[in-house]
Symmetry: C2
Subunit: 369 residues, 2 copies
């Protein structure tokens, strides 16, 4: 039933490329002619090492990673990294800048504050998180060990389309929901981390990319298996890694390369999101509160002019195979997540449904002018 | 090629039940008629919650878990828990007893020592880890917050066949390599934890079972997502859990129930290991150094009378579809891991190969007398 008629707009775990699922399915009982399922492969053996090495190479190639950046595949999600970042990147008396752009940066800040003093360099609170905090008002701390941003706010539908200038302070970015969705000016970053369950692979895996010079001994309280330094020094094999998750991420990396890489993804993602935003902006039945320049291309957040119809919208969409359109519980409204694996046909189907739903509920008129 | 001719004796990740792999394969693109792969399911949705609830219920039923024990599915492996146990179970000025029975308990001790004073209540070092430390010589600390054992030493081939009396101090057991291999006298335990990649499911998931009265606020340094208390209070949904790993564990739990539960597993595991130990003990070509009463039923460690043939043994076995028989790198020799999913036919095939290998190398004679 996973047919062309079903489109999954979940914010993550969310849609995966069909080709990846089919390949994973085909070789689930016998991975790369090893006689073993990927689930059964010892992580110390040659078969798995080939898989992990290939995944790492494909990722480096996709992102254009310079040799002084290291890649770690760690268990857990971005929430775990919220705690691990200060313990790995700062001295115990260090401090950090965080920019508060929405739900997920607030989570990152709350957790970091358990470890170090945090300077909130800027906040979107005064705008109700409908835009990114204005650059002119950022108050960076020149003594901060790093400056943390959330490059795409999954719940609020905001994204950085230009990177901030952090004046020499290493930029650390939670890219959970937009990593691999567009090319990166990688050398602008000190650390990138991303939970896998959006554009990378299964929940329970986090990718950490770190520039060599930021590696230091982690705090004594940091679990050894979560020390970036220890994992880099042991070639990410200090303990058993999440092997199948790495395998699946590797399939996604290969799929991305076959699709033309991050440039091709960015073009497709721009077309998808622009089509949906244009439809919403032209309607008086749907609305999007986010400032146009800061809108996410991954998570299109919108709402109905008649909010009482929201549950009905979600239910009717679901019956038509358009799944998981409810907004984040903390934000409400509606949200369509358009990750790499969402085909353009999915967006077309969503727009057609939205037009019909608006027509049925009597306010389908386009705005005049 | 994952045919009856291939048997995987890896210590983990290791063999999974064929039926589980087939079911996972069948529904990989459409899980429980949701229209989504398990990899694509939002963890907050009903479809995944049903899967997680069912897994939890099946596990409780299998183990016979009383209501005052909680079950957590956490990302990462047992090595992560080595750090998290003291931070979750002890006050910051607490201390703990650990019994050193081999490779994995030494790892647990080294990591715990980074957090609290550890009393090594007993050690198998003086026996070269060829037997468990003699009960009469255990020196328990009545003020310890818990007493930690490694119920099955995967690398050394040792296992507790009777639980120790810890005199009121809560017993904490790393059961990574024998959880679900036999019925448990669960009320003897305060905490059980187990990395999934042996008898539960994929690498990257750890199961933690904890008695209510041991839940307390974790240390301030403990990442919130790894606080047992926080995860219990949020119904294991503080952050995105490793959804597919939980799904696969659930399939394994159902498989175990269909096979007759842990009693049936224990009987089968006893037959498998006894057949192999009996063959080894009767041979003068193979030997097992472990004390008979302490031998593991999961990991049969043995060696050749002519150690220089070890690599040749592993290579020939591999060519015959008997995979991953090398011992742990820290211990050497040979090891056949006989987890729940290893069929009795696999052990018969291994014994037949071992007999033929011994015959080819000229020392196939059974011991006289």
């Amino acid at each position: 039933m996973h047919a062309s008629a079903v489109y999954n707009f979940a914010a993550g775990p969310g849609v995966m490329p069909q080709e990846v699922l089919l390949e994973a399915q085909r070789e689930l009982l016998d991975c790369r002619r090893s006689g073993m399922s990927i689930l059964e492969m010892p992580f110390t053996g040659e078969a798995f090492q080939d898989i992990a090495d290939q995944a790492r190479r494909d990722l480096r190639e996709l992102v254009g990673l310079p040799p002084n950046y290291r890649v770690l595949f760690l268990p857990g999600g971005a929430s775990t990294q919220f705690s691990l970042l200060p313990m790995n990147l700062l001295p115990p008396d260090g401090r950090a800048d965080y920019v508060d752009s929405g739900h997920w940066s607030r989570k990152a800040i709350a957790e970091a504050r358990r470890y170090v003093p945090v300077n909130v360099a800027a906040s979107g609170a005064r705008y109700g998180y409908r835009r990114l905090p204005c650059r002119r008002h950022w108050r960076l701390d020149p003594g901060a060990g790093y400056c943390h941003i959330t490059s795409n706010e999954t719940a609020d539908g905001l994204a950085y389309h230009r990177l901030p200038d952090t004046r020499g302070v290493p930029l650390v970015a939670d890219m959970t929901s937009d990593f691999l969705s567009r090319p990166l000016d990688i050398e602008r970053f000190g650390v990138i981390y991303a939970g896998a369950q959006k554009n990378i692979g299964p929940a329970g895996l986090t990718l950490v990319i770190i520039r060599d010079d930021l590696l230091r001994a982690a705090w004594p309280a940091c679990p050894t298996a979560f020390s970036y330094r220890v994992q880099v020094d042991s070639d990410n094999r200090f303990n058993t890694p999440p092997t199948q998750a790495i395998y699946l991420a590797g399939l996604v990396f290969r799929w991305l390369r076959s699709q033309g890489g991050l440039g091709a993804m960015a073009a497709r993602n721009r077309r998808k999101s622009e089509a949906l935003y244009a439809f919403i902006d032209a309607s008086d039945f749907y609305a999007c509160a986010q400032r146009v320049a800061d809108r996410s291309r991954m998570n299109v957040c919108f709402h109905l002019a008649v909010p009482s119809l929201t549950a009905e919208f979600v239910a009717q969409a679901r019956r038509q195979g358009l799944l998981n359109l409810q907004g984040h519980a903390a934000v409400g409204g509606l949200r369509a997540s358009l990750y790499n694996a969402m085909p353009e046909a999915g967006v077309e189907a969503l727009i057609a449904f939205m037009a019909a739903f608006a027509a049925r509920h009597g306010r389908s008129r386009r705005r005049c002018g």
